[in-house]
């Protein structure tokens, strides 16, 4: 399952501060969409609105519409917890649960929600998720060891396994490789390309090569100055953004002349 996400006139606020202004875009299913732009331009803020994670911060709110396959994510009867069950997220720093084993980390989406499952079911699911995250061969002999004993790159793939184990429709990745070395980064990138076969993948990255390597669509955000809201400048096919962008600002950024 994967879903199309539509953003219409989306404004994101932290209390009275407008962080992201007037975003209109359509995120395609079964594709990787990359958000690029300088620090502080609202990429992370925007990606966190897609699974209603940003409202965990007191005072944060959203105006405008966010539709997922036509359903309003910010509708009056929508339970944010249910949204997050369908939209998985991987964070900048790997954050496996330190009290849990590798296996329990993979199954945490179920275990933390008190869902019961048989032992064989749990084992099958663990294997499927870890194979899906390209981690199975490295950890299959130590599933009962703590997840925090893995390397940074392995921990990040464990977090991806945890996210895909609950079978979401969308996977959000907020700078998933910025704390990793090039080899682990390559592993995560390969994985992201595999994941788009089944999911809608949205990735925030500071690494423009990464965006051009793996993404199908790229959105460029920027900010006019400190205290100003971030804005979507250009959103198009990745090749177009990196070879022949319509906006001068985009060209300056992707060619390295600013930011």
């Amino acid at each position: 399952m994967s879903k199309r996400i539509e953003l219409q006139k989306l404004n994101v606020y932290y209390s009275s501060f407008l962080a992201v202004e007037d975003v209109n875009m359509v995120i395609e299913p079964k594709a990787i969409t990359a958000f690029i732009g300088p620090s502080g331009c609202g990429k992370s803020t925007l990606i966190r609105t897609l699974n209603r994670m940003h409202e965990v911060i007191p005072g944060a709110r959203v105006e405008g519409q966010l539709l997922m396959d036509g359903e309003d994510v910010y509708g009056p009867d929508v339970d944010p917890v249910r949204v997050r069950r369908q939209v998985g997220m991987v964070f900048q720093r790997p954050n496996p649960f330190p009290t849990m084993s590798i296996k329990d980390n993979v199954l945490s989406g179920y275990k933390l929600n008190n869902s019961r499952m048989s032992k064989t079911e749990a084992e099958e699911l663990t294997e499927k998720a870890l194979v899906g995250a390209n981690l199975w061969n490295e950890v299959k002999d130590r599933l009962d060891k703590p997840g925090s004993g893995l390397s940074g790159g392995q921990q990040q793939r464990l977090c991806i396994a945890r996210a895909i184990a609950v079978e979401p429709d969308v996977i959000l990745m907020d700078e998933p490789t910025s704390a990793l070395d090039p080899i682990s980064t390559a592993a995560i990138e390969d994985l992201a390309v595999e994941l788009k076969e089944k999911f809608t993948v949205v990735i925030v990255t500071h690494n423009m090569q990464q965006a051009s390597r793996i993404s199908d669509m790229t959105a460029f955000f920027t900010i006019a100055g400190t205290g100003m809201p971030g804005k979507l400048i250009e959103y198009d096919k990745t090749e177009k953004i990196f070879s022949n962008p319509a906006e001068q600002q985009t060209e300056d950024y992707v060619s390295g002349r600013f930011g």
Binding site: V83, R84, G88, F91, P146, G149, R162
Partner: protein
């Protein structure tokens, strides 16, 4: 120096390793001999150890600094001087502690026997008797106080860290701070006043003692738990939210287990803090010479009160009362020590491995 190559990293020569301990020994021996000679010349029989330590230490510090300054240079000399000062301060802080432990053990072992743990003081004047009634009372009253304080304290801390916003949270924090400083006698009076409402004046019962101890214990538990919950990384909470886990389950299944080791340590420390309280128990739990297993009725003896009354109201055979007091103090210290060991084991067993 034998080496032909001179490096810019080479400094002056170091003093050999044995110099510092050898000098320490030499100065203390010298200082000791000096005192012995002084004592014999003035025909004093008492040898005062304080000047031995002071002269030995000061002499050692000055001499080592001078020698090091001469051989090793200023930076290393200063380093040695500061090391001596810090170590001396540490030893100074340790002296009362060791002296206390030594005194309690030395005086306590006299009556630290089977009878002490199997008899109460009923019908005993003079020798014999024991503190079983006080030990039972202390364990029951502290146990009940823990049962009351720990759930309240942990839940209040969860409220403050995870849910509390605005005026109410600030008020609770303020009153927790105030309660941390409540004198224990006030807690005892509070419990007494509370129980007088229900049972009339002159009420004495173990439960009242437990209430008084809870008043002292709750703020300690809240503070300790609050600090532990605050250091649980926010990333773990976000990871759970992103998996579609509701907030209350995130708190129960992610935040609390991660902080469990620290919370357990905090609880043990809070128990150790109240188990030696005397004043509130003197008021509301009272004192008795007899066994009382029922915390809901009648006077109940506790170890601190046992120690106090044994010492304050010595009978005809004074020495046996004093001995019992010390044995009670030793027992109390051992209980606190066991609690600390348990806390360490818990924190070792439960802390996140990685």
């Amino acid at each position: 120096m034998t080496s032909q190559v001179t490096s810019s990293f080479q400094g002056t020569a170091d003093l050999p390793k044995w110099v510092s301990p050898a000098m320490l020994l030499a100065f203390f021996l010298g200082s000791f001999t000096l005192q012995v000679m002084l004592a014999s010349s003035t025909e004093q029989n008492e040898l005062n150890l304080i000047p031995v330590a002071v002269f030995g230490l000061v002499g050692y510090a000055v001499a080592l600094y001078a020698l090091s300054r001469f051989v090793e240079g200023r930076r290393k000399a200063t380093d040695r001087l500061v090391t001596i000062l810090v170590t001396a301060a540490f030893s100074l802080a340790l002296i009362p502690l060791l002296s206390l432990a030594y005194t309690v053990v030395q005086n306590g072992v006299a009556r630290f026997d089977a009878e002490f743990f199997t008899f109460s003081m009923r019908n005993i004047v003079g020798e014999g008797g024991g503190a079983l009634h006080a030990i039972i009372g202390t364990l029951e009253i502290t146990g009940i106080a823990t049962l009351i304080s720990v759930p309240i304290g942990i839940m209040a801390a969860i409220y403050l860290v995870e849910y509390g916003r605005g005026t109410i949270a600030r008020l609770v924090t303020f009153f927790v701070d105030v309660m941390t400083g409540v004198p224990s006698i006030v807690a005892g009076l509070f419990a007494y006043a509370l129980f007088v409402i229900f049972f009339g004046p002159g009420v004495r019962m173990g439960l009242g003692g437990a209430i008084a101890l809870s008043v002292l214990m709750i703020p300690v538990v809240i503070r300790a738990t609050e600090e532990m919950l605050k250091i649980v990384p926010n990333e773990l909470r976000e990871a759970a939210y992103a998996l579609g886990v509701p907030k209350w389950l995130t708190v129960i299944k992610v935040v609390l287990p991660t902080a469990l080791a620290g919370i357990a340590t905090g609880v043990m420390i809070s128990i150790a803090r109240v188990i030696g309280e005397t004043a509130p128990l003197l008021i509301i739990a009272g004192f008795t010479a007899s066994m009382n297993y029922n915390p809901f009725d009648e006077r109940m003896m506790t170890l601190p009160v046992f120690v106090y009354t044994s010492y304050a109201n010595q009978g005809v055979d004074m020495q046996s009362y004093v001995d019992r007091a010390w044995a009670g103090a030793l027992t109390l210290m051992l209980i606190v020590m066991v609690l600390n060991l348990v806390a360490r084991l818990i924190s070792k067993y439960f802390s996140p491995k990685g």
